[in-house]
Symmetry: C2
Subunit: 233 residues, 2 copies
């Protein structure tokens, strides 16, 4: 495996001034808690900053890309793009999992695959890049992997919601899950779809979206939320 | 009253290119929903963007101002600075309440004093300023009113928590509320205080902070949170 800085500069075409700061983004707290690395800094403060950097870059992109979309729709897209599973997915896409520095215990218990750790590392890297090179560098880094392909990422993570709901309800055995289109409104260029999620022919949740797919995903998300809040699937 | 753009340029020393965009930040949705203003745009999309701009500017400032502070402490400070009452307070400080455009019904029912409306307008203005002039202009605008005096704002809004808790428990009559220092740890330059909130000599909540004042505020916040989540004060 190439050293981190060579990999970032060469393969990912990232400009870097302060190599130590960039390295810090990959130091999980379990790593710096080990005696041998007690002089290293963890990535937690960088993650605090990177979280805000990511939020702004994604917000600005959506604001300009969807000039006619209402704030509620933009907010939902943003929330889905910056949530943990999406960021963990991106971290793996750019091989950050291989460069993570973990404590021994954390590494042995599968920390390198843990979504929260991967997502935090990704945000910390954005924070470090922002300090080192400014907001435009962060935009350039995120354009090919997150911004330009955001539709695909929304679809992949939507699929996630539907899959998760299915896994959840089928823990107790096979049950019939079906998505049905309940409503389709508005003029051709800005239609709103409403999908219903039916379990054994009982309506469990509804979702709205600009496409059938998105409406179904929102319905699955609703159902998962209800379940998280103590309801039954 | 001066026209908005003159006021912003003259009194607040803000540079402006796109006057229409800046004006949009002051258009509450109730205003654009009126027939006579149906060609105006509301400030909702700008608020979506401004929220993220504010988060980044505050995060970056705290990150650099408190180089030794852990992420958890920075997150708490940020949350308190960007919450609705703080932003409504700032909006009033810069007289945005006078420039808000509201629908008739909203204006008559006291919308000009509503914290959510003021806070949204303040965020929308930051979004518009960011598009018009970039992140440095937003930092310059926020420095004298929010960043430099952030300690004072934290204190004012901390006071808020304590006052709110007091009002809450005393709805049913006079009860004795007391804050006691429970712990004081760490080396002189980075002490951590733990305060306990006692109601009728019963410990209700604890809070930690870099000062006694902050610890007490956090304890009041904890107690309010517990109450919001269905507990009793």
């Amino acid at each position: 495996m190439k050293p981190l800085i060579n990999y970032l500069k060469g393969d990912l075409q990232v400009k870097i001034e302060d190599q130590g700061l960039i390295q810090q983004a990959f130091n999980h707290t379990s790593y710096v808690n080990e005696k041998a690395h007690k002089d290293s800094l963890s990535n937690e403060r960088l993650e605090f900053l990177g979280d805000a950097v990511l939020e702004l870059v994604v917000s600005q992109y959506l604001y300009h890309t969807y000039p006619k979309q209402a704030e509620g729709h933009l907010t939902r897209m943003r929330a889905q793009l910056v949530r943990e599973p999406s960021l963990a997915y991106l971290a793996r896409q750019v091989s950050f999992d291989q460069y993570l520095k973990l404590g021994k215990g954390e590494a042995e218990s599968g920390g390198r695959q843990r979504e929260s750790i991967l997502s935090d590392c990704f945000e910390a890297f954005l924070g470090a890049l922002y300090i080192d090179q400014g907001i435009e560098a962060v935009k350039s880094f995120l354009t090919p992997i997150l911004l330009a392909p955001h539709q695909t990422i929304l679809e992949i993570t939507s699929q996630d919601y539907k899959t998760k709901f299915q896994e959840l309800v089928q823990q107790k055995g096979a049950v019939q899950i079906e998505y049905r289109l309940l409503k389709q409104e508005g003029p051709p260029h800005s239609q709103v779809f409403t999908a219903g999620l039916f379990v054994e022919n009982q309506l469990q949740a509804q979702g709205k979206g600009k496409s059938k797919k998105e409406a179904e995903m929102q319905a699955a998300r609703e159902a998962l939320n209800a379940y998280d809040n103590g309801g039954k699937p």
